[in-house]
């Protein structure tokens, strides 16, 4: 399974190389063109090349997933680590915060936070906005796990010994606690990244994500809204089907399914 994922990721990373055309270039004379030599997957309603949009859209969706995961885990590590290591009031405050974030359903939380940010923004800004929102919203669960690991790791004999020998807090955390947390971080990253890619897809689908003309997988799925178009031009379902297959592959490879 892994090599397939690397091929997909490589194809998406090198989108400018593989994509036959500019993803934003319109060809108003040929909307919904059939798949053929010039457009391997056909064109969309503005005559834009579907394959190019799929590849460039993958860039946006994958990058959003990866960056949001890094942000979430970074926050989770700092807050969860602080709560577990410092204990006392800091622990109490941070864990109460985590509880707040956990009791709102994530899509409502996501939209709720999105609501208080500028509505119309440029594609690049909206990309960072999405990453920031998705990343900010999900920190509570990893933070709880990391706190638990740090809490028990703090009392381990060799950690106590290191502290007895005069190890500083940062050194102790980096050298002795971080390796313990590392496995949690890795499994969480594998679980979260595909979920965040789906979150970006949902947001873009609701029109609150990456805006036109920048392509994204959420917009690719929006084709299903137009039943009439699907009847007349059945090949428009090709890109969304490919997106589903790719997401399935990523989920399989990330062990998400084993964790559930």
């Amino acid at each position: 399974m892994r090599p397939v994922v690397w091929i997909i990721v490589a194809a998406i990373l090198c989108a400018p190389f593989f994509a036959p055309l500019d993803p934003a270039a319109q060809d108003r004379l040929h909307p919904y063109a059939e798949p053929g030599a010039t457009h391997p997957l056909g064109t969309d309603e503005y005559g834009r090349d579907q394959l190019s949009r799929l590849l460039y859209g993958g860039r946006v969706s994958l990058a959003a997933g990866v960056f949001a995961t890094v942000l979430t885990l970074g926050l989770g590590l700092v807050l969860g680590g602080a709560a577990g290591y410092l204990g006392g009031v800091a622990d109490e405050v941070i864990m109460r915060m985590a509880e707040l974030f956990l009791c709102v359903p994530w899509l409502y939380l996501l939209l709720g936070v999105r609501a208080f940010l500028p509505l119309t923004v440029r594609p690049v800004e909206s990309f960072f906005l999405i990453v920031a929102i998705i990343g900010l919203v999900g920190w509570a669960r990893p933070a709880r796990l990391i706190r638990a690991v740090v809490l028990s790791g703090r009392e381990l004999p060799y950690v106590l010994a290191a502290r007895g020998f005069g190890a500083g807090h940062l050194y102790l955390f980096r050298r002795h606690l971080l390796p313990l947390v590392w496995t949690v971080l890795r499994t969480q990253a594998q679980l979260l990244a595909p979920r965040f890619i789906l979150a970006e897809v949902s947001l873009s689908f609701l029109g609150l994500g990456v805006g036109e003309p920048a392509p994204s997988w959420g917009q690719t799925l929006a084709v299903f809204r137009h039943v009439g178009v699907m009847e007349v031009h059945p090949w428009v379902v090709l890109p969304p089907i490919i997106v589903v297959i790719v997401i399935f592959t990523l989920l399989r490879a990330s062990d998400t399914l084993k964790q559930l």
Binding site: E99, F224, V227, V244, R252
Partner: protein
């Protein structure tokens, strides 16, 4: 014992909701512009009118003042006045909450009703159900919903979206498809969790002892393994409600089900902050209530917890 326990949990839940509302209000400070900035785009509305409206709705105040006003109106049962509708938010939210509850509760019971036996079957025999869940988890909820909608539009057997016919009838028929989609979307995760909980218990020595005493297989699973596995399963109940509400938002938007989801999306586009606050708070209240129900269920199932708390 349970009364003090429930009372403590309810107070805790209310405190959580208060904290969420404070945070949301603090967030509104970050927003550049508000509802009445968009109104000014209309050339027939003057700058002064917009400013007057802003004063009327109290938007010229700082957020602590606005929060105090909102609390006051919440205590009156209004939860703020919606800018876009000029109605108390509670009046707009109430029918939406009921619709969302109807949809999610039906799906919740359907999903749990199906997940328990299916998980038991898949724990006892083979992996074919498990393989099916693998596939279902990977398909985004969006796609399942669209396939169902396409099916309805194509065959015409079921209404494609909405909640009632023009004459106000046909609620059940309209409910069927979105509820089915929600059930299908939440089923695979439930099955997997319940299955692993069951499998873990089925390895326990006392199960082997019961089997050696001649307890029948079916009775063994329903009377010995399932009750013992209830602990992790009930913990899942609250979690599954949160997940269900999130999927419900998408399903409601796609099937034009007049629940909280479409209202929230609309309110975000209009920057109608009290409506946004109201819908986020009510879903949080559902999750908290679900967690409470899960804990009570656990107390009913697990005598150890019952005694510890008394």
């Amino acid at each position: 014992m349970t009364l003090t326990f429930i009372a403590r949990r309810v107070v805790h839940g209310i405190l959580l909701l208060v904290a969420i509302s404070v945070l949301t209000f603090a967030l509104t400070e970050i927003v550049p512009g508000d509802f009445f900035d968009d109104i000014k785009l209309d050339p027939s509305i003057s700058r002064d009118t917009a400013q007057g409206l802003r004063v009327q709705y109290g938007l010229n105040q700082k957020w602590p003042v606005r929060y105090a006003r909102w609390v006051e109106s919440a205590l009156r049962g209004e939860f703020g006045i919606s800018f876009a509708y000029n109605l108390p938010a509670s009046q707009l939210l109430r029918p939406r909450i009921l619709n969302t509850l109807l949809l999610t509760l039906v799906s919740l019971f359907a999903a749990w009703g199906l997940a328990l036996p299916l998980a038991m079957i898949s724990a006892r025999y083979g992996r074919s159900i498990l393989a099916a869940t693998t596939l279902l988890i990977a398909v985004p909820d969006l796609i399942v919903a669209f396939l169902a909608l396409y099916f309805a539009a194509r065959t015409g057997w079921l209404p494609a979206g909405g909640m009632r016919d023009a004459n106000g009838e046909g609620l059940l028929l309209h409910l069927l498809l979105p509820a089915l989609v929600l059930t299908v979307c939440s089923l695979p995760v439930l099955i997997r969790h319940i299955r692993s909980a069951l499998l873990e218990v089925s390895q326990a020595p006392y199960i082997r002892a019961a089997r050696a005493h001649g307890v029948g297989e079916t009775r063994l699973w329903t009377h010995h393994i399932l009750p013992a596995a209830m602990n992790p399963i009930t913990a899942l109940a609250g979690l599954s409600i949160a997940g269900l509400l999130s999927s419900s938002l998408l399903v409601e938007v796609i099937f034009s089900w007049p629940g909280l989801g479409p209202l929230l999306v609309e309110a975000i586009a209009a920057r109608d902050i009290y409506l946004i606050l109201g819908s986020v708070l009510s879903t949080a209240a559902f999750v908290i209530a679900g967690n409470l129900a899960g804990d009570l269920l656990l107390a009913v199932c697990d005598p150890r917890i019952r005694w510890r708390r008394s």
